[in-house]
Amino acid sequence: MAFLLQLIVFTFFTLFLWKSFDYPFEVRLYPQVITLTGLTLVGLSLFQHLKQGKGTAPTEDVLRRARFYRISLILIAGIILGFLIGFLGSVLFYYIAYAYFQGERKKLPRNLLIGTSLTFFFYLLFGYFMGVPLFRGMIKIF
């Protein structure tokens, strides 16, 4: 995981450095200085990493992994839903999805009730009292 992240960071810096050449000198001076510094640091860090050798990888808790994938899926699905049916819809979805997948089945109706009423509460608080315009989504339900 650490190695992967450092690779991503390395790519990130390289990408910015490469793009910076599109801009005139004054504009790219600062980004180039910092991306080069960044690359140097990543290099040093990778070097350190290799020197320490491959330490024992922590035992993968399979259950944890599964829960992680589930929450990621929920988050991403929620966002897409948010774009479609509006913000409140996505909030409601999160409560439902979370209650269904992560919570205890016995407590499902209770959790759903709390979730829905909390969503309603949010609507009141933000939409009504505070006048924050909540995103309505492309299919305007709410």
Binding site: F16, L44, Q48, R67, I71
Partner: protein, 499 residues
């Protein structure tokens, strides 16, 4: 003296008291909600206050501003979700304390910090504004650039085993900060065609992502509650008393907060982290930080609460806002036809002094609220994750959304959430990244502006006395870990050499 007594009487009229309490409660609510910061809160409440007399309106808004910082510390401690960017540092030790069941103690200390730090800051505001403001004016482009770099190096290099990782994190933040319009030339950079990025990566969204969403993901991985019923030990009052066991921390953090506060353009986020990192540095057992050391709550909260009145120093005596919140405040003053600057003290002295008195009273309010209601807040940590996690997500995303009414910002927060998760799992601290993002703009634009002013000569970076001091401090903080290790080894050798 007469001015003060008169102002005090004014501050105690029932309208003003009501405004104080209402503003305070509103502020706490705003503070608790992540993403909706003190500035937005004030802007939202402004239309309501326009019909009130100026002192009442200002009291309400000022109370809201002051207490939102305090409200933010509540969620920071209980939910690992900073209510304001300023409270991000409080999360580091506040939440672990909560995990250990000592949430009440953390809240108590935070309350004490708000009162003490705030009082120190407010008293300086009332009595020392002019000389403080004059000092702040000596800082310009070159000094700000160096100061930002200094803050970054301090924050990145505290964790001795991971200095390089900390610096990388900071540089990532700095790089992300270059996205958007280049301040000096106006050219759009690194947006890769995505329009919403034209203004760069917004701080609040990144903060929400890196702290709130990351936390939600991590909590989702385990299905327990944050702390267990039997483990709740220590009351708010205990925490409050404990605060006073650390006078050096208090003094040091207040000074840091005040210093950062009076400088326009540097804000509470930086002061919180700086104070925290300094507390780590000075501690006898730095390894206990991050695991629930009460000093890790005392430092940032004291600093931030001293910082906020510091913000007002420049706003009131120079008419220059010291932060985004202060800018809103300034606009409000103008609407109420109170000329910011020294004229306010002559033409509208009664309003200003009434405000000062109210600000002092606000601390009593904090004391009252803090000591009475927070045991109930601590119970939040017992709510099952099934409810907490979506709530954290929901509140955070509303916060992300509310800033610019943009769903894209919400998506961005989630991206940062995953990034934060990966970083936490691989020993990269996301804090330097956040601060890099916050300060990146400051570093670059001041760097460019300084060069413009000197027409290309680098000498501007070491001309003034302040610049020289800052450079020295940067080197000190970069090499401090190595120097201190060397020093320890030398002492060790000397001890061994003795018979």
């Amino acid at each position: 003296m007469e001015v003060f007594t008169h102002a005090l009487i004014q501050a105690l009229t029932w309208q003003n008291l009501l405004a104080l309490i209402a503003g305070g409660i509103y502020g706490i609510v705003v503070g608790v909600l992540p993403g909706i910061g003190s500035a937005v809160g004030m802007a939202l409440a402004l239309p309501l206050t326009l019909r009130w007399p100026p002192d009442t309106a200002l009291i309400f808004l000022c109370a809201s501003y002051k207490l939102s910082g305090y409200g933010g510390s509540i969620t920071a401690i209980l939910l690992k979700t900073p209510g304001e960017t300023a409270n991000a540092a409080t999360v580091l030790d506040g939440f672990p304390l909560c995990e250990k069941g000592e949430g009440g103690i953390a809240l108590g200390a935070s309350c004490a910090a708000a009162v003490v730090g705030g009082l120190i800051g407010t008293l300086c505001l009332i009595f020392f504004s002019p000389p403080l403001a004059r000092f702040a004016l000596r800082f310009d482009a070159a000094e700000y650039c160096l100061l930002a770099i200094l803050a970054l190096t301090i924050i990145s290099t505290v964790i001795e085993e991971a200095v390089i990782k900390g610096l990388i994190s900071a540089v990532i933040g700095l790089t992300l900060a270059t996205i958007g319009f280049d301040n000096i030339s106006g050219i759009l950079r690194f947006t890769f065609g995505i329009d919403i990025l034209a203004d760069g990566i917004p701080i609040i969204q990144a903060l929400v992502g890196l702290f709130a969403i990351t936390q939600a993901i991590e909590l989702a991985e385990s299905t327990e509650t944050i702390s267990k019923l039997g483990d709740l030990k220590g009351s708010v009052w205990d925490g409050f008393k404990k605060y006073f066991h650390y006078p050096w921390n208090i003094i040091r953090s207040s000074l840091i907060g005040l210093f950062i506060g009076i400088l326009p353009a540097v804000g509470q986020t930086t002061s919180g982290f700086l104070a925290y990192m300094e507390a780590v540095r000075e501690a006898k057992h730095p390894e206990t930080f991050g695991k629930g050391n009460i000093e890790g709550v005392i430092a940032p909260e004291t600093a931030n609460n001293a910082c906020m009145p510091g913000d007002l120093v420049c706003t009131l005596s120079l008419g220059v806002p010291g932060s985004v919140g202060a800018a809103v405040f300034l606009g409000i003053m103008i609407i109420f036809v109170i000329p910011p600057g020294p004229l306010a003290f002559t033409e509208k002295a009664d309003v200003i002094y009434t405000l000062f008195m109210s600000l002092l009273l606000a601390h009593l309010l904090i004391l009252a609220i803090g000591l009475t209601s927070f045991k109930y807040f601590a119970l939040i940590s017992l709510v099952p994750n099934t409810i907490i996690v979506p709530t954290i997500i929901g509140i955070s995303l509303i916060g992300s959304y509310a800033v610019r009414n943009s769903m894209a910002d919400v998506a961005l927060s989630i991206v940062f959430g995953f990034l934060g998760y990966m970083m936490n799992k691989t020993n990269f601290s996301p804090i330097p990244l956040l601060i890099g993002l916050v300060l990146g703009d400051m570093v670059e634009k001041n760097f460019h502006r300084a060069l413009l002013m000197s027409e290309g000569s680098l000498s501007i970076f070491y001309e003034s006395l302040i610049s020289k001091i800052l450079i020295a401090l940067i080197f000190l903080s970069l090499f401090y870990p190595y120097i201190s290790k060397l020093w320890k080894r030398i002492r060790q050798k000397r001890k061994e050499a003795l018979p």
